[in-house]
C-alpha cells in the first residue's frame, strides 16, 4: 500500500503539480502497480541472471564518426523561449 506522502514525494521529484483529486486517483493506481510488482517478486529467481534487455543482443556499437548535427535554428525551433542561441528556461532555483 502506498501512502499519500510517497505520491507527493515522487511528484515533487518529477516536478509535477497534482490536484487533490489526482493525488487520490494516483495513490490508488500506484498502489495497484506496486501490488502487481509484489506478486512478481514472489517468483523464486535463485540463480537466474537479471534480464537487462528482452532481445538477446550485445555490443551494438557505432564507430566514432561524426554525423551532421541539426542547424541551430531547427534545434531551437521547438523551444518556447530561445535566447542568444540558447534554450532559455526558468531558473531551476526559482521553481523549486
Amino acid at each position: 500500500m502506498i501512502e499519500r506522502e510517497q505520491v507527493l514525494h515522487v511528484a515533487r521529484l518529477s516536478r509535477l503539480r497534482l490536484s487533490e483529486e489526482e493525488i487520490d486517483t494516483l495513490t490508488g493506481e500506484l498502489s495497484s502497480v506496486l501490488d502487481h510488482v509484489d506478486k512478481l517478486a514472489e517468483v523464486d529467481l535463485e540463480g537466474v541472471e537479471p534480464t537487462s534487455h528482452v532481445v538477446p543482443l550485445e555490443n551494438v556499437l557505432r564507430s566514432d564518426e561524426p554525423r551532421p548535427s541539426l542547424d541551430r535554428e531547427v534545434a531551437l525551433s521547438q523551444a518556447p523561449d530561445p535566447h542568444d542561441g540558447a534554450f532559455r528556461v526558468p531558473s531551476p532555483q526559482a521553481e523549486a
Binding site: 521529484l13 551494438v60 556499437l61 557505432r62 564507430s63 548535427s69 541539426l70 542561441g85 528556461v89 531551476p92
Partner: protein
C-alpha cells in the same frame, strides 16, 4: 583531554574522453563553439530516438580500467539515473550503476572501487543574479556538451589529507594523459574531481558523516578546500556538534566553504535499467587491445628511474610529464657514460630552472636538444669545466641555442688543469688575504671559504673546487 581526529577522503573523478563524437550519437565534441551547434534528436531527447553506444568510448574506458589495474567486467550494462533539471533533457542521465565496466582496481596507495561510463550534462548559464544560481531569474542551456562520454572513477576512502589528494590526483592525471584518452584539462573541465570527506577519532574504523566538496578546477584548490573542510568538521565536532551531510563549494579567492544544496533536496535517483541499450560484453580481442595499448605508466616509469639510481624526487618529476621523461632519456642515449642520477639532476635542476627564468618556456620550445645537454654534462663530468662554469654555459645554451663546446672556447671557461698554474694562484691568494689565512692557521677552518672565493675569483670560476681546497690546505699546513 581533546580527541585526535583523522580525515577519511574518497574521490570521484570525472574524465572526459577525447572521442570525436558524443557517447550515444554522432554529434561532434567541441570546446568553446557557439552554443547549440552540436545537437541532434538523440542528445536533445526528442521523442522516438534511440541511443547507440560509441565503440571508441568503450575502448578508451577499457584502457583506463586496465591502467588502474581493475577487473574488467565480462558484462556491463547501462542504467537511467532519474533527475529533473534543465541540463538534462531526457530527465535521466544514462550511466552505469549496477554493472560498471571496471571494478576493484588500484593506483599507487589508493584502491579503486569501480569505474563506470556515463554521459555528461549540458552546460547551463544562470542569468541575472551575477551568474550564480542563487538569485538568478532564468537559465540558458547549451547542449553542445550534453552527451559527452565520461568515465567516472570512484576510489575507496583511502586518502587522509589534502596534500595526499593533490599528489595522488596528479599521478592519476598523468596516468590518464599518457593513455591519450583524455585531455585531462581541469580548467576546461575535461577532468573534474569531487571529494567525499569525513573525520573520525584517530585509529577508529567507523566512518563519520561525510560532506561532498564539488568540482574544483585545480589540484591546489582541491588540497586547500579539503584542508578547510577537515578543519571545519573538527571544529563542529570538538564543540559538541554533528557534521551534517551536505554538498559544499570551496571559493579559492576567499577560502570559504558554501553549502550548495539543502538536505531536503538529497538525491533520489530511482535508478532503473536502460531498456534502449544492450549490454557491453568485451570480447577477448577488445580486452587484449586495451591491455596491449598501455604505455609505460608514470608509476612504473618512476620506479624504473629510481632503479637506475635517480633520486625519488627527480624520478617523480620526470615521470609525470612525458616530454620531460623523453628529454631525460635522450640525454642518456646521447652519452651512455653519463650517470642517470647526474643527468636527472641537471635536467630537473639547473636546466628546468633556466627554462623558468625564460618566462617558463615550455620544454617543447626550448633551443636546447638533449644531445647538447649531454655534451655539457660530459664536459663537467670529465672536469674539462667546473660545475659553476657549466651553469654559465647552460644559461647561454638556453637563451641562444649555442653549442656548449663553442661557449666554453669563446668565454675561456676551460678548467685550469695545470696544477702548477693553479698552485701559483693559490699561493697568491694566501698572500693577498693574510687575515683569513691567519684565522685558519689559528684553528678556524671555516675561514677557508674566503680563500676559496678569492681563488675562484682570480680564475673566473675555472678551477676545480676540490683541487683548490686540497692545495689551500696543503699550503696552510693543515
Amino acid at each position: 583531554m581533546s580527541t585526535e581526529y583523522e580525515a577519511v577522503i574518497g574521490l570521484e573523478i570525472h574524465v572526459q574522453l577525447s572521442t570525436r563524437t558524443k557517447m550515444f550519437c554522432g554529434c561532434e565534441l567541441s570546446f568553446g563553439d557557439d552554443p547549440n551547434v552540436h545537437t541532434c534528436p538523440v542528445c536533445l531527447a526528442l521523442p522516438g530516438v534511440l541511443p547507440v553506444t560509441n565503440a571508441q568510448a568503450i575502448e578508451y574506458a577499457l584502457q583506463i580500467g586496465a591502467a588502474l589495474d581493475c577487473e574488467l567486467s565480462p558484462v556491463s550494462t547501462f542504467d537511467r539515473k532519474n533527475y529533473f533539471y534543465p541540463d538534462n533533457p531526457k530527465a535521466y542521465q544514462i550511466t552505469q550503476a549496477a554493472r560498471p565496466f571496471a571494478e576493484n582496481g588500484r593506483l599507487g596507495e589508493v584502491r579503486i572501487h569501480h569505474a563506470h561510463l556515463e554521459e555528461d550534462a549540458a552546460k547551463t548559464i544562470h542569468t541575472g543574479g551575477g551568474g550564480r544560481i542563487k538569485g538568478s531569474d532564468a537559465s540558458e542551456v547549451d547542449f553542445n556538451r550534453g552527451g559527452t562520454p565520461l568515465v567516472e572513477i570512484v576510489t575507496e576512502p583511502d586518502l587522509r589529507s589534502g596534500a595526499q589528494v593533490r599528489e595522488w590526483g596528479q599521478l592519476l592525471r598523468a596516468t590518464i594523459k599518457q593513455l591519450g584518452v583524455s585531455d585531462v584539462n581541469m580548467e576546461e573541465g575535461s577532468l573534474r574531481c569531487d571529494a567525499n570527506i569525513s573525520i573520525r577519532p584517530a585509529g577508529s574504523d567507523t566512518l563519520g558523516t561525510k560532506t561532498e566538496l564539488k568540482n574544483m578546477n585545480s589540484f591546489r584548490f582541491i588540497e586547500r578546500g579539503i584542508e578547510a573542510e577537515i578543519a571545519r568538521q573538527k571544529e563542529v565536532v570538538s564543540s559538541g556538534g554533528e557534521v551534517e551531510q551536505e554538498t559544499l563549494h570551496f571559493d579559492p579567492a576567499t577560502g570559504e566553504l558554501h553549502s550548495l544544496r539543502s538536505k531536503e533536496e538529497a538525491h533520489d535517483y530511482r535508478y532503473l535499467p536502460e531498456p534502449d541499450l544492450v549490454p557491453v560484453v568485451p570480447t577477448e580481442a577488445m580486452l587484449e587491445a586495451a591491455r596491449n595499448s598501455l604505455p609505460e605508466l608514470p608509476a612504473a616509469r618512476a620506479a624504473r628511474y629510481e632503479q637506475l639510481g635517480v633520486s625519488e624526487q627527480a624520478a617523480l618529476l620526470l615521470s609525470f610529464e612525458t616530454e620531460w621523461a623523453g628529454f631525460f632519456e635522450g640525454v642518456l642515449e646521447a652519452d651512455d657514460t653519463i650517470e642517470p642520477r647526474v643527468a636527472a639532476n641537471w635536467v630537473t635542476g639547473e636546466f628546468a630552472a633556466e627554462l623558468r627564468k625564460l618566462d617558463d618556456q615550455p620544454l617543447a620550445e626550448s633551443r636546447v636538444a638533449p644531445e647538447s645537454l649531454a655534451t655539457l654534462i660530459g664536459l663537467v663530468a670529465s672536469k674539462k669545466i667546473s660545475h659553476g662554469a657549466g651553469k654559465t654555459v647552460l644559461e647561454e645554451m638556453v637563451s641562444s641555442g649555442a653549442d656548449p663546446a663553442a661557449v666554453v672556447a669563446e668565454k675561456g671557461l676551460e678548467q685550469i688543469s695545470d696544477s702548477g698554474e693553479l698552485e701559483k694562484i693559490v699561493i697568491q691568494a694566501i698572500e693577498d688575504n693574510p687575515k683569513p689565512a691567519e684565522q685558519i692557521r689559528g684553528g678556524n677552518e671555516k675561514a677557508i671559504g674566503a680563500l676559496v672565493g678569492a681563488v675562484m675569483k682570480a680564475t673566473q670560476g675555472r678551477a676545480d673546487g676540490g683541487e683548490v681546497n686540497r692545495l689551500l690546505r696543503q699550503h696552510l699546513g693543515l
